[in-house]
């Protein structure tokens, strides 16, 4: 392979990206050296097994990926703003919508959700960490290795170009000969293993580590949503693992699972992909439902309405999510029978989802609704997501779907589901739990300004796409002629996307501004909230709770504040905590290089890196690490320091 094939050449934008990557990396390296932060970075972050810090790293990575995916989106909207526009060529556009999809779903939505899970779940159930802290760090570093491997594809070797769905035979070696789809099959695989382990870890955590007295039906709704999500992960991700492995065999080793000849089946890929892909949608939406449940209850100053039906509706959604995958390809030529069955199962999902919407609305009834920034996002979610939901029912009707399939109508629908469903939720959760992590609130005025920019621009961007779809504009077209009449609505959508970008910039500025100027919170409970995480100090001591809490009902902290219940009974005792370890980080780096060598079929280095992985596993297996104990004296000092600062 020549160097000019190794690096992507010939595009001024890509040269710009390369230069900025090098400059940014150098700036970080020099900055760390100048401020003597290498040791701090290693001790406090790279080797940490603390669920809160891992959560923060997930969220930072997700924000970076939001930026990357957002730039992709702006480029697409820029290209489509005018008929016959020349900003991007076909190949470049194809790579950009592919990476936009993969990054936003797998490297933005997922890690943001998992980051919040990490931060919140152990606190909500009164635990001191997750069940397997070291495994948790491995999960993060595998995700991070996969995300970075996927991201370098646009400067080294070329990005995947067959859509985030990577349908075969288009994604086969025959029609996509660059290494782009090798990146797809390997980078997502590495990140996916991390996600699978997260699923196992949180199921164990939630089932085994709840506070005394917290039965399953007394768990906070967010924890419930995470438990159900992790069960979906456990069943769905292995399908992706298998599909990606078969894809890798096809592309690297000449097998014929999905090819056109020799008995390969292109439709097998589509089926496997969506058997994972549809539950995946619920993996990113259910925790969002949990976040909204917490926020709406808190700012209505009421308990969640219909708790039991909220739990059951999520269980039903999780079951149905595995029974609807064929609605992604009604047009593949199944008979009336198959399409009919999948139509009905798909529409049935609207029923439990509707139950949740009505329960949220009735949570607010007779409440005292306060319009804080997290609450605003939760309130915007209800009407906008409902549009996404009802258009979903329309798409579920097979006969009509023959007209919507592959069009901008579909694009509008899933953005109307995923942006209010997931993106607003993670922003709302971020605003809501931020003071718990950092000890101060993000500025409300700035937060509300960003909010209005984001939700108005969102509608301006995506509502016109419904009409473009009905006009016959298909998705993934990099250009269109003026005679199609698609121009004006596309221009409107593009203007909206600029507004969205401004909204997100304001949001990031709010974070920066608040770090510098926001007043510190001294109570640990700035929102007057209801669940256990607000009963400890903020920022949170590493052991979370000096004494493990005892719970008797839902909303235990609310009960305690009203004087009906004592959360912390007993004496402070020695606390057993896990040790930090550099192994997960090193394992992530080895996986990154293993993946990179596999992408380019450099077998010898790949085998060496593969041996490295095995060695790391062996080292861990023979390691004796029983953690450490924090003595009572130290705990007392920490507690009084945290209280002292609050005075």
């Amino acid at each position: 392979m020549k160097w000019d094939e190794f690096f992507v050449t010939g595009e001024p934008m890509i040269y710009g990206a390369m230069v900025s990557i090098v400059v940014a990396s150098l700036a970080i390296l020099i900055g760390l050296t100048y401020f003597k932060k290498w040791g701090y970075l290693w001790r406090e972050w790279l080797t940490t097994v603390d669920h809160k810090r891992i959560g923060i790293m997930y969220i930072i990575a997700a924000l970076l990926m939001l930026f990357r995916g957002g730039v992709d989106a702006l480029l697409m909207r820029g290209q489509l703003a005018m008929p016959d526009n020349g900003l991007l060529d076909g190949q470049h556009y194809n790579e950009i919508f592919t990476t936009h999809g993969v990054i936003m779903i797998l490297f933005m939505a997922m890690p943001f959700i998992i980051g919040l899970m990490n931060v919140v779940v152990p606190l909500q159930i009164g635990a001191r960490d997750v069940a397997f802290p070291r495994l948790n760090a491995v999960s993060f570093w595998l995700f991070f290795a996969g995300a970075m491997l996927f991201n370098i594809s646009f400067v080294i070797g070329g990005s995947p170009d067959a859509g985030w769905t990577a349908y075969f035979p288009l994604a086969s070696l025959e029609f996509s000969p660059t290494v782009g789809n090798n990146y797809y099959s390997i980078a997502i695989q590495i990140a996916g293993i991390g996600t699978l382990m997260t699923g196992v870890n949180f199921i164990a955590t939630i089932l085994k580590m709840r506070a005394k007295g917290m039965t399953l039906m007394k768990m906070p709704m967010f924890t419930w949503s995470v438990l159900i999500t992790c069960v979906i992960i456990l069943f769905a991700f292995p399908v992706l693992t298998v599909a990606l492995a078969l894809m890798m065999f096809d592309r690297l080793f000449g097998s014929q699972f999905f090819t056109m000849a020799n008995g390969g089946m292109d439709m097998l890929w589509a089926n496997l992909f969506w058997v994972w892909g549809h539950p995946e949608v619920y993996i990113v939406i259910l925790p969002a439902f949990g976040i909204y449940s917490e926020i709406i209850a808190t700012f209505s100053r009421k308990n969640l309405y219909g708790y039991k039906s909220m739990v059951w509706s999520m269980v039903v959604i999780s079951l149905l999510s595995f029974l609807v995958w064929a609605h992604h390809f009604y047009t593949m030529g199944h008979g009336v029978m198959v399409n009919g069955v999948f139509s009905i199962t798909t529409m049935a999902i609207a029923i439990p989802t509707g139950v949740k919407i009505f329960n949220w609305l009735f949570t607010m009834r007779k409440g005292r609704i306060e319009f804080t920034t997290p609450m605003l996002y939760s309130l915007a979610f209800i009407p906008i997501f409902t549009i996404g939901g009802v258009t979903g029912v329309m798409l579920a009707m097979a006969s009509a779907d023959y007209q919507y399939h592959n069009t901008m109508f579909l694009v509008a629908h899933f953005h109307y589901v995923l942006i209010p469903g997931t993106v607003f939720a993670v922003i709302a959760g971020f605003y809501y739990w931020f003071p718990k992590l950092f000890g101060f609130r993000l500025n409300e005025r700035q937060g509300k300004r960003a909010f209005w920019w984001i939700i108005i621009s969102f509608n301006v961007t995506f509502f016109p796409l419904f009409f473009l779809g009905l006009k016959g504009m298909t998705r993934r077209m990099y250009t269109y002629s003026e005679s199609t009449g698609y121009g004006p609505l596309n221009l409107l959508a593009s203007i909206g996307s600029v507004g969205l970008a401004i909204g997100f910039i304001l949001l990031v500025y709010n974070i920066y501004w608040s770090f510098r100027y926001a007043p510190r919170d001294t109570t640990g409970d700035p929102w007057n909230a209801r669940t256990l995480e607000w009963s400890t100090h903020s920022p949170i001591p590493e052991y979370n709770f000096a004494i493990e809490p005892t719970v008797t009902g839902l909303d235990p902290f609310w009960e305690a504040k009203k004087g009906g219940h004592q959360l912390y009974k007993g004496e402070i005792e020695e606390i057993h905590m896990p040790n930090n370890s550099g192994q997960p980080f090193i394992l992530g780096i080895i996986f990154f290089f293993f993946g990179f060598f596999m992408v380019f079929s450099w077998w010898v280095p790949a085998i060496i890196a593969g041996i490295g992985v095995v060695v790391m596993l062996a080292v861990r297996s023979f390691e004796r690490d029983h953690g450490r104990h924090i003595p009572v004296k130290e705990i007392l000092e920490t507690e009084s320091r945290l209280r002292g600062e609050q005075a």
């Binding site: 029609f175 009421k302 008979g335 009336v336 006969s399 006009k471 009449g485």
Partner: protein, 326 residues
């Protein structure tokens, strides 16, 4: 609140646009299949608008009535577990809505899969539509002609498109005549359409298939039967034959303009149906199993021995082809 005003504006704009749907291709049907689909779409929009209305009214009510700024300073929200009857209501009504929509869906899906009602007695015009790279080949086996990137057919006669692909999955779509269906390399899908009005309609591939995808359009021209016969005659007398060599070079091209030939490629490069099929998903019931069998070579399809065995068993139970799922 600003947001509510915005949503209201957007919603009313939506209704205004619906009434003037002439420039929305999907809601401006020119044949019975698209007409059925357009009716289903409009029906579902109305039902869904009702659902939205209920949610929005409740939403606005809760937000205006129970905001903290309106509450008495000492107001303490009550503890509420939920209400059995309310919950039954908002489960039962959606169940009824979904049941109604399910009936509509199954009936309309069944209708659009078949030859449209009122046209069952006519002998359909069979046209094979095959995609290669970013162009479409249309073969008329009975007429013995072939076109590239445009397709002509008579009005008021059922047209049976048989779809397949040389290469990635594509999706054959003429929005004003009816919904789309996939064209794949290892099987033939069937799409029945009728044009009731003469005219030129946009046809396209709607499924992303690589670099030249955005330009993969064709013209679907519905002509009066008389004009169609004249056109046929003209093609048969003036157009050149399609040789295997010519076809192979066509396949390799990325894009070509319009082409017309007085013979089809089906003789030397048969469609993947019957014994040439790679696989079958089950479904399209009455595929014509015996068309062109016997005179084909298999060089195009490059089947392995194993696959041949499969297709042989297939032939043994040819009538039961649809049950042979893979």
């Amino acid at each position: 609140m600003k947001r509510k005003g915005l949503l209201l504006a957007v919603f009313s704009a939506f209704l205004v646009l619906l009434t003037g749907c002439n420039n929305l291709a999907v809601l401006n049907p020119k044949g019975p299949v698209a007409k059925t689909q357009s009716n289903v779409i409009i029906f579902s929009i109305l039902v869904m608008a009702l659902v939205l209305l209920v949610v929005y009214i409740l939403y606005i009510f809760m937000l205006t009535k129970y905001r903290a700024s309106k509450a008495a300073p000492d107001y303490e929200p009550p503890h509420e577990e939920g209400n059995k009857w309310l919950e039954i209501t908002w489960i039962a009504i959606p169940v009824i809505i979904v049941a109604i929509l399910s009936v509509v869906t199954v009936r309309s899906t069944s209708a659009v899969e078949k030859v449209p009602e009122g046209y069952e007695d006519q002998k359909p015009l069979v046209i094979y539509a095959a995609s290669s790279n970013w162009k479409w080949h249309f073969s008329y086996p009975e007429e013995g002609i072939e076109t590239v990137n445009y397709v002509n057919f008579p009005t008021d006669r059922p047209v049976e498109f048989r779809l397949y692909a040389y290469g990635p999955i594509t999706s054959f779509w003429i929005p004003q005549l009816g919904g789309q269906k996939y064209a794949m390399s290892d099987m033939v899908n069937e799409l029945n359409l009728v044009a009731e009005h003469a005219g030129s309609y946009m046809g396209k591939n709607s499924n992303f298939s690589g670099e030249g995808f955005a330009h993969m359009e064709f013209e679907a021209l519905a002509m009066t039967p008389k004009e169609y016969d004249e056109w046929l005659e003209e093609v048969k007398t003036t157009a050149p034959e399609l040789t295997e060599q010519e076809f192979d070079s066509l396949l390799k091209e990325s894009h070509v303009g319009r082409k017309t030939y007085a013979s089809t490629h089906l003789a030397f490069s048969p469609a993947p149906e019957g014994e040439n099929a790679g696989h079958n998903h089950g479904g399209s019931e009455d595929m014509d199993m015996n068309s062109e069998s016997g005179e084909m070579d298999h060089s195009e399809m490059d089947h392995s021995d194993m696959d041949m065995e499969q297709t042989e068993t297939d032939n043994a139970g040819a009538a039961d082809h649809s049950s042979h799922g893979n």
